[in-house]
């Protein structure tokens, strides 16, 4: 089982869109996939039309493994399940440690519920906290969408500093350019500068700024479904293939 986190310390960078489409692509390739919506805003769940789970708001939630596995919902697509949002950060922490620990009751419960997943994707909330640190330690790969602008560049540098300061393995970070607009010269210049500075950390695939991605909120489906023949779909497919290789190397 591989754990892949979609993470950005800056909001509105296309993190959830990436998590949703990558989860779909992993599942479509036949891998049993669980997408965990850890962002309290619950956008991942919304895209898959899954209503937030009521049981998740209960404080005792993580003491009860059965309740956890019961709150997982099958998506409309083969091999893809969703854990809807509404988790507190405290729960989030316990969740990670349990999912990692092969002897944990959570892991056994997932197995027993025939949800022994090949890939678990985490759609993380956008901030750096002691809790994010646990995501960084638990995940096999951390995908970081970066809009090629000055502010995003700054946020990315802050993330790298955080990794350095907390002795976290930088090689888990796999950044990619998101919401790229080819017509903007600033985007081109920023990408050039960042590629020079962080050559090994950036993947080849780029996600364009596309109305098909914006419209995911209207269609409430991955772009692979709502716009299968589009530049956005092709871009996510390329990203998926690159991520799959990176994760296999871990």
């Amino acid at each position: 089982m591989k754990i892949i986190a979609c993470y950005s310390n800056k909001g509105g960078v296309g993190k959830t869109a990436a998590a949703v489409n990558l989860a779909y692509a992993f599942a479509a390739s036949g891998q049993r996939t669980l997408l965990c919506d850890l962002d309290p805003q619950g956008a991942s769940g919304y895209y898959f039309r899954v209503k937030p789970s009521k049981t998740l708001t209960e404080a005792t939630f993580f003491k009860d493994v059965e309740k956890f596995t019961k709150s997982i919902r099958g998506s409309d697509y083969d091999n893809l399940d969703i854990l809807p949002a509404n988790m507190s950060f405290r729960d989030f922490d316990v969740f990670l440690s349990r999912i990692r620990n092969s002897r944990s009751r959570l892991k056994k419960a997932l197995k027993a519920a025939k949800g022994d997943y090949d890939v678990i994707l985490l759609d993380c909330p956008p901030n750096i906290s002691t809790l994010s640190e646990n995501v960084f330690r638990a995940a096999d790969a951390i995908l970081v969408p970066v809009i090629p602008t000055t502010l995003s560049q700054r946020a990315y540098d802050q993330l790298l500093d955080f990794f350095k300061g907390n002795d976290l393995p930088k090689k888990k970070l796999h950044a990619f350019y998101s919401m790229v607009q080819g017509v903007k010269s600033l985007h081109g210049e920023t990408m050039q500068a960042m590629n020079g500075a962080h050559k090994e950390r950036f993947m080849m695939a780029q996600i364009p700024f596309a109305s098909d991605i914006e419209r995911m909120g209207v269609h409430r489906a991955p772009v692979f479904v709502s716009a299968p023949v589009s530049a956005a779909s092709r871009a996510y497919q390329a990203l998926y293939e690159e991520v799959r290789k990176k994760v296999a190397e871990e």
């Binding site: 898959f48 709150s71 997982i72 099958g74 399940d81 519920a113 025939k114």
Partner: protein, 509 residues
């Protein structure tokens, strides 16, 4: 992800509309039908072992699909080298069918069209909670029924439960492949090599004998087509068993029919069987081909090539001969007349035992046969003649037939405990006999004096000689096995049971 489990149902075509209509609780059912119907052919062995084991094999275009009773569907390319499972390409279906008899071919049960669709059950956000996959089968241009497979999505168990209730309310019945066969191909009567002949305790011996015989003529006749077409060796095998059972009734049920008529009928049955003997022998030799090769070193395979080539050629001739015979008017007239005689009964002349109670009559027949077997088996040892073992085999076969004929008159559980070890004993006896017959026929083959060139002559003689020696050694081992399995068959507990069921005084039963 999918919830698994037994989720398959059968639905009559007129109930489909109500299944797909409107609301299920707070949820909406949305039906999508795929465009166009696809032609399909339903495949099974002649004895419908797939249907019996709860599976359905469809050939749809270039794909084979195997529907399992739990709703799973396996598929693989349809292209294959022949009619047997071994001729299939490696794949999920071939693997799943590995339990089928390698001797039985798969042939079309019938053809029709299948239309596929799905009912999605959605909430107010248009999120799917569960689905019902539909396969609507039609034959002769008429919709016959639908196979409905429910699929639940994780976390929506309640909705699946509601869909299931809705489906059941619409008339959905838990899947039975027997029903699907019968609905899609109503003209198919379902072949059964061992038809159950029901008997009432107050039936007479005459009723019992006549019922058994008239149930077995259709079995024999159902196999004629397959023998003529030469689909597989199972047809001739079943044909012969059905006729042999009829002949056994005539010879075992002494006094049920008038003496002269009984003798005449026995002779006519023997005449029916006579033309089939050589072909069956050749089938057995050829089915053993691979085992013969495995028994001898490569250096002796050359002679076997010649041997089996000759046997195969002879089989072609015999098969053509039998096919001509079965298609002839003389045969048709004779077999139809015999079947009619037992069906109508008017011309059957009852013998002195005709009015005996079937149950009492059965007890006596079985008990006497059992005693006979015990006395023969008691004398079999390392130095006994093959002929004695052969006799034991014949009597065991007769006992088995009797027990099967009258099975419904006795407690099922008791019968099973006696039949199982009898079957094992018969298997060993059968093998012993095959080994003995094969050695004789190998010698015959050499003595026939085929005009082979010198080199081939020697090669064949060497191979046949070596094979005979190996068969002889195996036969000795089998003789010891027969003694052992007889002991199993006739242990103290089983002796007691035989006595209890078939010999205890009538007034104490």
């Amino acid at each position: 992800m999918m919830e698994t489990g037994s989720n398959s149902y059968f639905l009559k075509p007129d109930a489909l509309a109500s299944l797909a209509q409107g609301m299920i609780g707070n949820l909406t059912a949305v039906l999508t039908l795929k465009d166009g119907a696809i032609p399909f052919t339903l495949l099974d062995t002649f004895d419908q072992s797939l249907r019996r084991s709860g599976r359905m094999l469809l050939e749809i275009g270039e794909t084979l699909e195997l529907l399992m009773s739990d709703g799973r569907v396996l598929s693989q390319p349809a292209e294959r080298n022949g009619r047997f499972v071994t001729d299939f390409q490696a794949g999920a279906i071939k693997q799943s069918l590995s339990d089928l008899s390698p001797l039985r071919s798969l042939s079309p049960v019938g053809s029709g069209d299948v239309r596929r669709g799905m009912i999605a059950v959605l909430d107010d956000d248009h999120k799917t909670h569960c689905r019902a996959y539909l396969q609507i089968f039609a034959s002769d241009g008429e919709e016959r029924g639908a196979l409905v497979t429910l699929q639940g999505l994780r976390g929506y168990g309640k909705s699946l439960g509601e869909l299931r209730l809705h489906l059941e309310a619409c008339g959905g019945a838990p899947l039975s492949f027997g029903e699907i066969y019968a609905e899609i191909f109503p003209e198919q009567n379902g072949y059964d090599a061992k038809p159950e002949v029901s008997m009432a305790p107050d039936d007479t011996a005459f009723d019992a004998a006549t019922n058994i015989i008239s149930a077995h003529f259709p079995v024999a006749r159902a196999n004629e087509g397959g023998i003529i077409e030469d689909h597989d060796t199972g047809f001739l095998h079943d044909y012969r068993i059905a006729l042999r059972k009829i002949r056994s009734v005539l010879s075992l049920f002494k006094g049920v029919y008038e003496k002269d008529q009984s003798a005449d009928l026995k002779a006519r049955l023997s005449d029916l069987m006579k033309p089939t003997g050589r072909l069956r022998d050749l089938d057995v030799y050829l089915l053993e081909r691979q085992r013969s090769y495995d028994l001898l070193p490569d250096t002796l395979h050359g002679g076997l090539d010649t041997l089996f080539r000759m046997l195969a050629e002879e089989r072609m001739v015999e098969k053509a001969k039998l096919a001509r015979h079965l298609a002839s008017k003389t045969y048709e007239k004779e077999v139809a007349e015999l079947a009619k005689l037992f069906m109508k009964r008017k011309k059957l002349r009852p013998g002195p035992a005709a009015d005996l109670n079937a149950h009492d009559y059965a007890r006596d027949l079985i008990w006497n046969r059992y005693r006979k077997i015990c006395s023969i088996a008691g004398g079999i040892g390392p130095s006994s003649e093959d002929a004695e073992v052969h006799m034991l085999r014949i009597h065991c076969k007769k006992l088995r037939y009797l027990m099967e004929f009258f099975g419904s008159l006795f407690p099922e559980k008791d019968f099973k405990t006696l039949l199982m070890p009898l079957k094992r004993l018969q298997d060993d006896l059968g093998q012993f006999n095959d080994h003995s017959v094969q050695q004789v026929s190998l010698q015959d083959f050499l003595w026939k004096g085929n005009n082979w060139p010198d080199g081939v002559d020697l090669e064949v003689a060497q191979s046949v000689g070596a094979l005979t020696a190996v068969l002889h050694r195996q036969q000795l081992e089998l003789r010891a096995k027969v003694v052992e399995s007889f002991a199993q068959f006739n242990g103290p507990k089983k002796q007691k049971k035989f006595r209890h069921l078939f010999h205890q005084r009538r007034d104490t039963k």
